[in-house]
């Protein structure tokens, strides 16, 4: 290997520092070895790669990372949790991660009927499933996470269990001055006929530059119904890459709602593999971008079997010098007849300097399907604005009202009332609404 670029230097450093993980006692030795060779082959993506065409991830993220090992754990976390309004209001099973590492003591799962295990407690077959859905060759950052993770958690929802309260996974992140990196890893297994709502949030205790590289895998079995909400509302130096892979089995439903409200640079890859009939995959996303925020959402739905459905709606409001990227892919394989797949991406640009790149992509090999995609980019409807102003509503309020209505279409897909109220409140504030 030649050491010509900065990127290569970093990789070599990384590989050397993670050498110890590859001894035989590590159940993830194979995964980490494959990940290493995969990342070694591909390197970090450049603008020349189609998937990262609009996001200079190496410059914006990799070059800022100085240290790939996990930061020290946070001391007074119990207090912090006690004072966190959102966590309290959600009143669910709280899973706490302290700078990427699971903390069972602070988690509120004592009387839970589902199991949460750190990777160190997994048996061999459970461990072997890690990395089977979100494979290392899919994305360089999945490979990076696979090389680096020290532990992770596996959530098993047993067959037939219906969990009323939400499972709230909170990542607390506290890093020192520069370039630290937190790489959480999660594996969810939803047994047959189970139902659950999972809310993922991240709490930053300071505003220093941090790179959060998450990988989550979902194995959703027959007739399981999962709702997954993720809130990205960090601070302006947050760099985040998240890779989520989902396998959906017969009659199952998976609904994802992703809210990207702040951060410096966020990249989200979400993929749904629809492997059976009568599945429903829903993907909803909202991004409100200001300042120099750059958010890049890539979604991928792969319909492999007939009679399934997928719905996708991503909406964005861009101001200042922000940049939004959306790439939605829908694949309908030859066997996936009678598939209904819908995709929609709507954007409002509010400032001269905002940039938007969108690519709604359809690839269809089956003839008896209903597929459509649409995307629009524009401004607020002048007539709607006039209508409101004619009724005595000030320009600012009218504008915020319309924007809020635009965003509301995504927020309405959140069914957990407390979480919805919280999100509505912050979106409302962000869109300049009073009260």
């Amino acid at each position: 290997m030649t050491l010509s670029t900065k990127k290569d230097h970093k990789l070599v450093e990384l590989f050397l520092s993670k050498q110890a993980d590859l001894n035989d006692s590590n159940p993830f030795k194979d995964l980490k070895t494959v990940a290493k060779s995969s990342l070694n082959d591909t390197g970090f993506p450049t603008l020349k790669e189609e998937e990262y065409k609009y996001t200079n991830i190496t410059k914006r993220v990799i070059d800022k990372v100085e240290n790939y090992s996990s930061p020290q754990s946070i001391d007074n976390l119990a207090e912090i949790i006690k004072n966190n309004q959102l966590i309290n209001s959600l009143d669910g099973y709280t899973l706490v991660r302290n700078n990427g590492l699971f903390d069972p003591e602070l988690s509120n799962i004592k009387d839970a009927a589902f199991s949460v295990k750190p990777f160190s407690e997994l048996d061999k077959s459970q461990a072997s499933e890690i990395g089977s859905i979100e494979t290392v060759d899919k994305d360089a950052f999945t490979a990076l996470n696979s090389i680096c993770f020290e532990s992770g958690i596996r959530v098993d929802i047993p067959e037939g269990l219906i969990i009323e309260q939400p499972i709230v996974l909170v990542d607390f992140v506290n890093t020192d001055a520069t370039g630290q990196c937190v790489q959480p890893r999660t594996f969810y297994h939803a047994g047959k006929n189970s139902q659950a709502t999972v809310i993922e949030i991240t709490v930053y205790l300071n505003e220093s530059t941090v790179f959060l590289n998450e990988v989550a895998e979902w194995n959703v079995e027959d007739n399981a119904h999962i709702r997954h909400y993720k809130l990205q509302d960090g601070h302006k130096s947050e760099l985040g890459v998240s890779n989520t892979g989902t396998e959906i089995a017969r009659d199952a439903t998976f609904t994802s709602v992703l809210l990207s409200l702040s951060g410096e640079m966020l990249r989200n890859n979400l993929s749904l593999n629809i492997n059976a009939s009568n599945c429903v995959g829903n993907m909803y996303g909202l991004y409100l971008l200001n300042g120099k925020t750059h958010v890049d959402n890539h979604t991928n739905v792969d319909h492999k079997m007939p009679h399934s459905e997928s719905n996708e709606l991503y909406k964005g409001i861009l101001t200042d010098q922000s940049r939004g990227v959306f790439n939605g892919k829908i694949f309908v394989r030859q066997d996936a007849q009678k598939t209904n797949a819908f995709q929609q991406n709507n954007n409002i640009l509010l400032s001269e300097d905002a940039i938007l790149n969108t690519k709604p992509q359809l690839e269809i090999w089956a003839d008896d399907v209903k597929c459509s995609h649409g995307c629009t980019t524009g401004q607020l409807d002048e007539e709607a604005l006039f209508y409101l102003r004619a009724r005595g509503i000030g320009k600012k309020s009218a504008k915020s009202l319309l924007l809020y209505a635009f965003a509301g279409e995504v927020l309405n897909h959140i069914t957990n009332e407390s979480f919805k109220n919280y999100c509505e409140k912050i979106v409302h504030e962000r869109l300049g609404g009073s009260n």
Partner: protein, 481 residues
Amino acid sequence: MSKDNEILEELTSKEYEHGWSVDYETDEAPIGLNENIIRWISSKKEEPKWLLDWRLKAFEQWSKMEEPTWANVQYPKVDLQSLRFYSAPKQKSKPKSISDVDPELLKIYERLGISLNEQKRLQGVAVDVVLDSVSVGTTFKETLSKLGVIFCSFSEAVKEHPELVKKYLGSVVPATDNYYAALNAAVFSDGSFCYIPKGVRCPMELSTYFRINAANTGQFERTLIVAEDQSYVSYLEGCTAPQRDENQLHAAVVEIYAAENAEVKYSTVQNWYPGDKNGKGGIYNFVTKRGICAGDNSKISWTQVETGSAVTWKYPSCILKGNNSIGEFYSVAVTNNFQQADTGTKMIHIGKNTRSRIVSKGISAGKSQNSYRGQVQVMKRASNARNFSQCDSLLMGDKCGAHTFPYIDIQNSSAKVEHEATTSKIGEDQIFYCNQRGISSEDAVALIVNGYAKEVLNQLPMEFAVEAQKLLALTLEGSVG
């Protein structure tokens, strides 16, 4: 369902109509590609030095380029060294007008249904006919020259209007634009040149008819259309090739320059040999087409009906530089058997109040793959840019594919951009409805497909529209879905 498939199969097994070839004496370049071949072509065409230099520069750049692989098509690599880059029918003396052209050659065109006999023509269409690498004749030259319209072969233009050619050649598609455009710039053999002077509305349709006859020959022609202020021209392009087992390469470049208030309408009916029903043979159609609306209020409209070629790789684009300029793209792409098409457009909005409209209708049958790939780019200064794109796909049979890759890049907040796409098939109920009313399944498919493609076919000039409709029905003959 099985009935559907039967009829589908029948329809999709239609043979290619223009698959014959003719023997005639030719002037050929040696096989292979190197600098000497380029010099050979250039000297054969008695070109001035600047053009040779331009070619050599393009060749030098091309040698550094790699064949693009991003298109959604798969084909064995073209071995350029085994191709012949120049082949021309031998003509004893240079024909002064179409009546001096070797009658044997004219017969080829008679057989294709293109009459070059000026007196017999009812419609006023001036034709430049290109056989293999060179233009064999241009009709209605005199009538046009009275108005100041220049319509001739590219080689002739280089000799007679070098200042115009020099000014505009490569101004829209630079010699080093992409792999195939650079290759074309290095080895292009002929093509058409068209110049519409200020304020002239070209009274007749101008047309180029391309025919590849020789085997193992690549066709590399270049079309350059310049429309000065307040002028108008409608330009047609048609093409066919004989049925051969090996794949042949066609890498053309079309450049359009529209000045203030000018309007250019470019229509193509592409019917290159698509290969047989097992996917053997056929033309590789790798074409770069681009127009620039350089002046304010100018308009460029591309209309294409793509039915032929084994592999198509073609993106007629518009650069909307002038304020209030308009770009349009209407396309029907039909793929059958093993054909693959990756086609679409680029609309680049630079000027203020620019508008563009994209209507793309893909029809895939057999085992073909049909992709729409388009880009709408609104630059920072393009205030009030407006784009509407619609790309629909119609699938006939369950072994074909339809794909959409729309890129939408917006840098201006006053832009309004819409994109929508749908995928559907011809319903059994629709066929049944027609059957009930005494329309055979085959006619019903033709009817439905024509209805589906109407929005695009309506844009074609009258003579072409009729041909295109017939062609659509023929290509899909036997493929009721």
